[in-house]
Symmetry: C2
Subunit: 255 residues, 2 copies
DNA sequence: TCTTATTGATTGATATCCAATCCTGTGTTT
DNA sequence: AAACACAGGATTGGATATCAATCAATAAGA
């Protein structure tokens, strides 16, 4: 793989881990020193990030981690809902027994993780559910679109006031699978919609985000060869946020 | 705008106009001489094209215009159908009178173009319909996803045996609008699906595509400043293809 | 004729340099 | 003291030249 792609992947992970927060300057010189490559390679990486919606390049000003607006957030969640509803409709028509089994098995694995108190694993599995869901459509184009939207929702999570609990929404997943398998498409789609709406409605993005890490500090754990085993989640000072990047951050709006 | 973005746009147009056909080598040196820029700028342009799915970069081999497979074609049309159906569902809920008026007006303009024999205009309007349709969702993220899918379908049209008539499917457009406005969402969605399915089913992509133009010839009309007024459609030797890039190439499968 | 080796071309990447632009800090003016 | 103007520094966007690695196609040899 090209060096610029590899670096783009690292930057992407750092952003998704909330180690590089929205608005953070991604200076060419600084990054080139961090990764020990030339500025041009960094430029190419930044172009890739910008094409993916994770960075924003301003002419003669440089690249910054994207700072999506509330409007952007709603549009991203709308698009994600649209895609997942569409996939749900396709699956309810076309999915074979093996597919349903895989979905049920995934939910079951997550259930066991929750039961055994392994929150981190449950979180990861909760994220993965959506990916598996879309993968079963056997449409790589759709998978890539969906993955990009998920990345952007993860970026959004850097911007919200992190005063929420993670519930992995095992119930929602199980119910979606159940409804779809029974052919009850419409309730399933409404459940998907309701889920995403409840998430985005809890967003409060007025606050400015201040980077707690310099790019050098943020990227240090990803450097130095295949050290990717311990991905190092995001550090947070304030709340009890465990730093997960779960796609299921569920905001408790009701009291 | 950055030079690499401008060049990427030109390359994109040339590909969508079928002047650069799938498989065509996009050599860095050649392009850098054509556009009179350094190789680095070209590399950045090619990265953008690859991210958009219009080019494919092979390590140490270079970039080529993407050569999507039949599988890719089906997946792209599936994704397009999914997106447009989802947008249709949203519009049937949320679109106001002004929106419906705009859609009806667009269809009417296309009807007039057809009636007056202005096929070229009718073709453009037929393409635009889908774009307008998605724009009314007021979701820029969705718009960009849709636009990318449309670009890829246009690329696909370089690969099919061009033995079909262009009918602008005014009827389909009018009917979709009519059905949606009446709240008959399901038939409208089925109509969208049927349309795209009929298109992709007519595809025959066994044939190899041979470039009839060198990159230098293909790109010449786009160079030299704002000469973009006469976009120069694609040249075709064989059929009566008028060179349109209409999103509504409708294959007459039934006899 | 088939296999192997060499050569040429192209890509990936680096270093250095330059122009244009933006930010900032200072100094001047009112 | 406040507002404005200007100059300098820093950063980006880009050009050029160069080098290593890899691929492809040809040429040499069995």
């Amino acid at each position: 793989m090209s060096r610029s792609q590899a670096i783009a992947d690292i930057l992407t992970r750092a952003i998704l881990d909330h180690r590089l927060v929205p608005g953070c300057k991604l200076g060419e010189r600084e990054l080139s020193e961090i990764f020990d490559v030339s500025r041009i390679v960094i430029r190419q990486s930044l172009i890739r990030l910008a094409d993916d919606g994770l960075a924003q390049i301003e002419r003669n000003r440089g690249a910054f981690v994207a700072r999506p607006s509330m409007q952007d957030a709603m549009e991203i969640y709308d698009a994600l809902t649209l895609v997942e509803q569409g996939v749900a409709a396709q699956l309810s028509d076309r999915l074979g027994p093996a597919g349903w089994a895989e979905l049920r098995q995934h939910v079951e694995r997550q259930r066991q993780a929750v039961a055994s108190g392994n929150d981190a694993l449950a979180d990861v599995l909760g994220q993965e559910f959506h990916t598996v869901f879309v993968r079963l459509s056997r449409n790589k184009v759709m998978q890539e679109i969906h993955a990009q939207l998920v990345r952007r929702t993860t970026l959004l999570r850097s911007l919200i006031t992190a005063d929420f609990d993670y519930c992995n929404l095992l119930d929602d997943h199980a119910r979606v699978v159940e409804l779809l398998e029974k052919g009850r498409l419409k309730p399933a789609m409404e459940l998907i919609d309701a889920h995403h709406r409840s998430v985005v409605r809890g967003y409060i993005m007025d606050r400015q985000v201040f980077p707690e890490l310099t790019p050098r500090e943020a990227l240090e754990p990803y450097l130095d060869g295949k050290a990717g085993e311990a991905p190092k989640p995001a550090p947070r000072k304030k709340t009890g946020d465990r730093g997960g990047t779960g796609a299921h951050a569920h905001v408790h709006t009701a009291k």
